[in-house]
Symmetry: C2
Subunit: 215 residues, 2 copies
DNA sequence: CGGGCGATTGATTGCCTTCAAACGTGGTGG
DNA sequence: CCACCACGTTTGAAGGCAATCAATCGCCCG
């Protein structure tokens, strides 16, 4: 439903600018690439979900982002990956050799431009995330997360979470317990419904918006 | 002391790749550019210090980064600035028309490459900052900040902070009081000395390193 | 039916924020 | 030259929120 089968095994950089690659399947929790590894490919999600991760010096993991069908990830500036990527659920991913992107960027200004834009978008996302983590409480973080995720998957009021509470917790810098408690609290306030733990129904979008913006 | 007068009014993008601009002086707390404003120039700090800021929906400010002499800032991907820049102290800044960077990127792959690298470096910094804010306490945040700042200014054990406690607080997502208390505590532990509130002497680098890495 | 994992709920602790007051310093005007 | 004021900083006391520790629940799968 999220991605039509017609999507070819390519990464689209704009008009007349497609890079051909190969499709590959990863099982749940499989590593797609690891931090410090040579960045041989760039990736696009076809189906399923992917998480990109970095680890703190003390071993805690921080989930930088979740990547949904259509999203491109693993595009590095240097020659090594700066983060790890894992399959949140079983997923199909298109791999395109990074040398193709490199070549395209050297020959076509538009490709270079596109590369820059993707990196810039990641930068803005990272900054947005910093703002959310900076001075927001658990309720606001979870509300922000749900709203943002709902936007990206375009499933209307219904959100199917592919990730566990632990994943959400490591993304929002909370504990599993706090995420769970917060979702329960939102349900108690009738802002959402939780038919199952992975299925969220947004009952009151405005309530979530209000929460998100709260001090 | 930080920057020799010999530095010309240019922004250096690598070998044979300098963009000419003009120098300008800003007084303490003066706005250099504002969020959403057209990004007409890119900037380099000559002397003094600059902060880049974004505001939360609720009005709180988040200092994304401090820029010291030699640092380039205000390089945007889109046509508008995504953050505000202000002078932390009175400072000299070089302004280069963004159209020159645009032109250089179109004509020379190395310039485009440099642009990409700068953005990528900002992305990594933003992610590092997320990691620090994510699961670290006040002591670790302040220790990280001091170590990082000391590295960048290369003043040996001596750190001259150009910014106020409020600036540090808004960078580390703490309150002024907590920053002050934490610095006092570090002094009590003999990790640092505080001859004046803006002058920090690192007494035990290893103690700070240890703190920084703590859970 | 049993086992294991993820999720939920409860009780307690600890850290940071908030509110409040005092301190020191630099600048200004008398 | 000194008194005064403003602002940034420091320190103290109390409260709130999320982390931690701990137990139970529910579900999927063997």
């Amino acid at each position: 439903m999220t991605t039509p089968q017609t999507s070819a095994d390519i990464i689209d950089l704009g008009p007349d600018l497609c890079l051909r690659g190969t499709r590959m399947r990863f099982e749940r929790n499989a590593e797609i690439f690891g931090e410090e590894e040579p960045a041989e490919y760039i990736y696009r999600v076809v189906s399923g979900a992917v998480r990109t991760i970095r680890f703190s010096p003390d071993g805690r993991r921080q989930i930088l982002a979740f990547h949904m069908p259509g999203d491109v990830f693993g595009v590095e500036i240097g020659d090594a990956h700066s983060c790890t990527a894992e399959a949140v659920s079983a997923c199909d991913v298109v791999l395109v050799r990074r040398s193709l992107l490199q070549k395209a960027a050297n020959e076509d200004v538009r490709a270079a431009r596109r590369w820059l834009e993707m990196t810039g978008q990641n930068l803005l996302s990272a900054q947005d995330h910093t703002l959310i983590l900076g001075h927001k409480g658990a309720g606001e973080r979870v509300a922000s997360f749900l709203l943002r995720f709902a936007e990206r998957t375009a499933g209307g009021q219904h959100i199917d979470l592919p990730m566990s509470r632990a994943d959400i917790a490591d993304h929002l810098c909370l504990t599993i317990e706090t995420v769970s408690r917060t979702l329960s609290e939102l349900e108690r306030q009738c802002a959402i419904a939780l038919p199952t733990s992975r299925h969220v129904v947004m009952r009151s979008r405005s309530a979530l918006m209000q929460l998100q913006a709260a001090a």
